[in-house]
C-alpha cells in the first residue's frame, strides 16, 4: 500500500468582489485545513452538499487553482514547488473528468481527434500511433469505431462522458479526479459509467478522487470516504466503517437523506 497522494492542511479562501451597497459579505474559507491521502490504485470519495468545498479540493489538488496554504505531495513530489512547465508535464499523470463532458470537448473536432488530443499536447507517439491508441481507447470505454468519426453534438450525455473518460485515460495517468461525473446522467446511464470507471480503475491500477453529493455511489466506487461540510472535514475513514457506523451526526443526516428505492407502502 503505497501512498500516491498526500494532502496536508489544504486551505483556500476566494476573494469576494465588494458589494455595491451595504456591508461587504464576511469571507469564509472555501477549504479549511483539509488533509487526506490516496493510496496507489485505490479510490477516495469526497462527499458533501453543494458549497461544502469538495469541487474546490479536487481543483486544488491538481493546482488548477492555487491553494493559500498546505502541502500536496504526489508520488513524492511537492507539487506546490513545481514550475508551471513542470506542472504541465506532471498533469499527464493526473487527469480530471467533469460533470459536464461537453465542457472538455471541442464541438468542431471529431470524437477520435478529441480522444487523441492529450497525446498531441504531451508530444506522445506519431500521428498513426495516436490514431490507433484513440480507437483502442474508444473501444475500451464501450464505443465502436464509428463513433470516432462523429462530433460531440451527435452523442448522448452518457456517450460523451465515456469519451471524456477515454480522453483522460489515453495518457495512462496514475491518478484521476472525477467531479460528479454522473450527476447529469440518467440513473441507468450512471450505472454504466460507474461500472466503466470501476473496471478501468482495476485494469489500469488507477487511483481515483471521486467527488459526489450522492452517498449511495460511494459504496459502488470508493474504498475510503471523506465527508465535508463548509470547507472542513467532518469525518473520514474506510467506506464500510463510515457508512455503517458514522461517528458524526452530520454524516448520519446525509445518510438518512439518501432515497431508498422501496415504495413507501412497503417500508416497515
Amino acid at each position: 500500500m503505497t501512498t500516491l497522494l498526500e494532502v496536508r492542511d489544504l486551505g483556500k479562501t476566494f476573494a469576494r468582489s465588494r458589494r455595491l451597497v451595504g456591508r461587504p459579505e464576511p469571507i469564509q474559507p472555501a477549504v479549511d485545513g483539509v488533509s487526506f491521502t490516496v493510496t496507489k490504485g485505490r479510490s477516495l470519495a469526497v462527499v458533501g452538499e453543494s458549497g461544502a468545498g469538495k469541487s474546490t479540493v479536487g481543483r486544488l489538488v491538481l493546482r488548477l487553482i492555487e491553494p493559500d496554504r498546505g502541502t500536496i505531495t504526489f508520488d513524492g513530489i511537492d507539487l506546490r514547488r513545481q514550475s508551471a512547465a513542470r506542472m504541465r508535464e506532471l498533469r499527464r499523470r493526473m487527469q480530471m473528468v467533469f460533470q459536464d463532458p461537453y465542457s472538455c470537448l471541442n464541438p468542431r473536432m471529431t470524437i477520435a481527434d478529441s480522444v487523441a488530443e492529450p497525446l498531441v499536447v504531451h508530444g506522445l507517439g506519431s500521428a498513426d500511433e495516436r490514431a490507433r491508441r484513440a480507437s483502442e481507447m474508444l473501444d475500451r470505454v464501450g464505443l465502436t469505431a464509428r463513433f470516432g468519426r462523429r462530433h460531440p453534438s451527435e452523442l448522448s450525455g452518457g456517450q460523451l462522458q465515456r469519451v471524456a473518460i477515454a480522453r483522460a485515460l489515453i495518457v495512462e495517468p496514475d491518478f484521476m479526479v472525477c467531479d460528479e461525473p454522473t450527476a447529469a446522467l440518467d440513473v441507468s446511464v450512471q450505472a454504466q459509467v460507474l461500472e466503466l470507471l470501476a473496471s478501468m480503475q482495476r485494469e489500469l491500477g488507477l487511483a481515483l478522487l471521486f467527488i459526489t453529493h450522492h452517498l449511495a455511489l460511494v459504496e459502488v466506487i470508493a474504498d475510503e470516504v471523506l465527508v465535508m461540510r463548509s470547507g472542513r472535514v467532518v469525518e473520514q475513514g474506510p467506506v464500510a466503517q463510515v457508512l455503517r457506523d458514522p461517528a458524526e451526526a452530520y454524516t448520519r443526516d446525509l445518510l438518512a437523506s439518501v432515497p431508498t428505492p422501496v415504495p413507501r407502502a412497503l417500508r416497515g
Binding site: 440513473v187 441507468s188 446511464v189 449511495a216 412497503l266
Partner: protein, 337 residues
Amino acid sequence: MSDATQPAPPLLEVEGLTVEYRTGRAWTRVVEDVSFTLDRGETLALVGESGSGKTVSATAVLGLVGRKGGRIAAGSIRFRGRELVGLPERELRRLRGREVAMIFQNPMRSLNPAYTAGEQVAEVARVHLGMGRRDAWRKAVEMLDAVGIPDPERRSRDYPHQFSGGMAQRLAIAAALCGSPSLLIADEPTTALDVTVQARVLELLRDIQQQTELAVLFISHDLGVVAEVADRVAVMYAGEVVEHGAIEELFLVPRHPYTEGLLGSIPVLGSGEPLRSIQGTIPPAGSHGAECRFAPRCAHAQPVACAVGHPGLSVVGAGRDVRCHRATDLHLEGIAR
C-alpha cells in the same frame, strides 16, 4: 352533473396518445399509443430514460406540443371528461395555471428573473383567482410560507437569483400551486438538487398532496425518487408504455426486463451489491423496426420467441399491463424486501 349510477370520469384520461415531430419533410413518431389515467389525490409516475417520450407525453396534456413543431397525430386527452385535443389556444390557456400547473427540473424556467418572489406568485393570484393587488400579495406571502420558505415576509421581496436551488424550486411550487390547480405536472423537479434538499422537496410535495387532493403526474428517470412519491408507475421506452402497475407490485415483481434493469441501476446504500446496469442506449425516435424495441438491449431476449413482431400491451393483472413477448414465462428480479 354525473348521475348517481354513473361514476365520475377520472380527473385525467389519456388514450392512445400519439405525438409526432417534424424532422425535415417527414414526421417522426416520438410517442406512440400511450394511455393512462389519473385520479384526484393520486400520483402517477412516468418513468424512462432521456428520449423515452415521457416529457413529450406530459407536455401534450398541457396542449404544448404544437409550440415546438409537434402534433398530436392520434389519441384523446380528457380532463374532467372534457376533450382537450383540438381545443382552441384561448381555452387551453385558461386551463393552464388554473387547473393544470407544471414545474420543471430547472425552477428558473418557470420564474421571471426580473420579478421578486412575491410578485411572481401574486401575479398568479391576480390572473387566475381574480384577486386585487393587496389580497394577491397577502396570498403570495401565505404561499411562500406554505411551501416552507423561511421568513416569507422578507423573502417575498427577494429576486429568484437570491434563492438557492432547493428554495427556488419551492418558490416555483408556490407559483404553480397558487391558482389551486387540481393537476400538477412535475418534470424531474428534484433532479438538479442535492440529495438532502431533494428529500425535503419530495416531502413537501407529499404534504401538499395530503392536504389538497392534488393529482400529480411525476416525470423521472429515477425509480429511487419515484418510490418516494408515486402510487402507480408507467414505464416508458422508445415512445411506448412498456409496463404499468401499482408501485409496490412493479418494484417487487417487475414484469418487463427494462423495468428490472432500471431497478438494478439504482445505487442502494448498504446493499453491498454491484449495480446491474442495462447495456446499450435507447434507439433514436423513428428508427424502430417491426420487432420489440427493447430486444437489442434485453438480457432476456430470445432469437425465436422475441422475433415475432411488435409486442402489444397485454393485461397481466388488475391494473397491470406489460409489453413483452415473454411476459408470462419470465421471472424477473425486483427489489429485495
